[in-house]
């Protein structure tokens, strides 16, 4: 740790704490999850980077969207994402959430994940290797440092259009909006 790092700890302790304790939500959304067990176990050991899997979204601040997202999973992902406390970061794994990947013509997978929830970083590969996951984490650190991993703020600000897209893909959503939507002043719980 160089001197720069130490001064950062003094200047922005919350940010530093955030970035070095990324708690990843335990949710196997797609096939990229197969590389997560090696990453969190002995061979690669993600704890060196401060990443540990946690059981519930309430404890998590990192959401690894591992691969393709089917329509049914999208509902679960949105639910999970909305339950995570801020600040929260999302990383999309592999080709599929970027532009559909292998399943570009599937009737049941969504093609551009960033139309439905904000994504802070994407990892190329099908699927990304453990090394790429680590490098992605270091990139995420940089983004957090520079305040560029601001997906959750985007989500709050543009919630209306995110919600509209979610409804377009999923039909009616059974849960109330997370943030107030200006034009339709419905109940704004949470």
């Amino acid at each position: 740790m160089d001197r720069n790092q130490i001064t950062k700890w003094f200047k922005a302790p919350a940010k530093m704490a955030n970035k070095y304790s990324l708690n990843a939500i335990y949710f196997c959304t797609g096939c990229g999850i197969i590389e997560v067990p090696p990453v969190i176990t002995a061979r690669w050991d993600a704890e060196r980077f401060g990443i540990i899997p946690v059981a519930t979204p309430r404890q998590a601040n990192l959401f690894l969207i591992t691969g393709y997202v089917s329509v049914k999973t999208l509902r679960a992902i949105i639910r999970t994402y909305e339950q995570m406390p801020e600040p929260k970061y999302t990383v999309g794994f592999g080709s599929c959430p970027i532009n559909g990947g292998m399943y570009w013509d599937s009737y049941n997978t969504i093609k551009h994940l960033n139309k439905y929830i904000p994504i802070d970083g994407w990892i190329a590969g099908c699927m990304p290797r453990p090394e790429a996951i680590f490098v992605a984490v270091t990139h995420l650190w940089t983004l957090i440092d520079k305040d560029m991993a601001n997906g959750y703020i985007k989500y709050r600000k543009n919630y209306k259009s995110y919600r509209r897209n979610q409804e377009l893909a999923l039909g009616k959503l059974e849960w109330p909006p997370l943030f107030p939507i200006a034009e339709q002043p419905q109940g704004n719980e949470q």
């Binding site: 797609g30 096939c31 090696p38 061979r43 999973t73 999970t80």
Partner: protein, 365 residues
């Protein structure tokens, strides 16, 4: 006590894979369980109708991320059967070795999941580490860690790289050397016995009735293994045994997994010894013009979880007319799991599910 409905998954620590079970519980006791798959449904069988024969080859392995290799194998087998393509002798051996490596890898993954779930973290770490060593072998052979895209119609995609035989032997020896440690830490551990014995018990009659295959069936004492019943690749070229257990509970199933792994390693050694030299690939026709005559075929192979079948219909064109995969997790996850969970306790859901080795993407396809 009041009945209530409990949603188990898809985001749940006890759930491996994107799968969910709706439980109707009374207190701790499960009255009724309904599997709720579909979180990973991509409509493979529909997508394949839109892709040419060779374009399907990289697609199919994505059906099952834990063990993509057997899916490649059934696809290649079905195409070879429909198009009547001969496979060179050496390719048969390479396929067998490769599939057995895949079985070892997949069982180690299953062991990780099971040990992790039962709280044997040490064993889980070992299993995942050793699985990674097998993945390194795959990477060397095929160029991919997880999706190998290696067995294609007509043979295999590349021959062994130089010195690969020794690498297999070395890696498997180093994994095999740890078997006593696994045994003492996990398999012969009293805690494992206590936590798994009599959990999710299945009689042979029930297993047959509900369409079980693989170690779910073999743990009830039925020596049903496609590699013996209808030998494919080079499985009839060497001598090997089908590991069996009698009790049909989670404990037996995990023991069968262990024995199978060891048997696979022995089989690989035997296959490496008798493997002939020669070509490994009979060139398939030009992929842009390749048409397969009208017909249908059902082929099957023994994946690490049971019978993996593929029913494929060709309409005489450059694309399949219909494909349907019979995946072993399908009866395991949708019938047997539901039946076994009845009257079980909530704490045993993960135990039963992982001992049945339910792999969600395989069910959803």
């Amino acid at each position: 006590m009041r009945e209530l409905e409990l949603y188990f998954g898809p985001q749940h620590l006890g759930m491996v894979g994107n799968f969910s079970i709706t439980l109707k519980v009374e207190g701790d006791r499960i009255l009724k369980a309904a599997a709720n798959p579909g979180y990973l449904h991509r409509g493979f069988e529909k997508l394949m109708e839109y892709r040419t024969w060779i374009q399907n080859f990289p697609l199919v392995c994505r059906i099952n991320v834990v063990e993509p290799d057997h899916i490649e194998m059934v696809y290649a087998m079905a195409v070879e059967k429909l198009a009547q393509i001969e496979v060179p002798e050496r390719a048969h051996f390479i396929r067998s070795i490769y599939l057995e490596l895949a079985r070892v890898q997949s069982h180690l993954f299953g062991l990780w999941a099971y040990a992790n779930m039962l709280g044997f973290d040490t064993v889980a770490q070992w299993a995942m580490y050793h699985r990674d060593l097998v993945l390194d072998l795959f990477e060397e052979l095929t160029g991919g860690r997880v999706y190998h895209i290696y067995i294609w119609p007509g043979g295999v995609r590349r021959d062994f790289p130089p010195g690969f035989k020794d690498k297999i032997v070395n890696t498997l020896h180093s994994i095999g050397g740890c078997v006593p440690d696994y045994d003492s830490t996990f398999f012969n551990n009293r805690l494992f016995y206590e936590r798994a014995k009599e959990i999710g018990k299945l009689t042979q009659q029930q297993a047959k009735q509900w369409g079980a295959t693989g170690q779910t069936l073999r743990a009830t004492g039925m020596p049903y293994d496609i590699r013996k019943v209808e030998p494919y690749a080079a499985y009839d070229k060497v001598d090997w045994d089908v590991p069996l257990r009698e009790d049909g509970d989670a404990y037996s199933r995990i023991w069968v997994i262990r024995d199978e792994m060891i048997e696979s390693v022995h089989m690989i050694f035997k296959l490496l010894e008798v493997m002939p030299e020669g070509p490994v690939y009979n060139r398939i026709p030009n992929p842009f013009k390749w048409k397969i005559p009208k017909g249908d075929a059902y082929v099957r192979c023994e994946s690490s979880r049971g019978e993996l079948g593929l029913y494929m219909v060709s309409g005489g064109g450059d694309k399949p007319y219909r494909v349907h995969f019979r995946t072993p997790s399908y009866p395991n996850g949708l019938i047997i799991l539901e039946k076994l969970l009845k009257n079980a306790s909530i704490a045993d859901v993960g135990n039963i599910m992982i001992s049945l080795y339910v792999v969600a993407p395989e069910i959803d396809r």
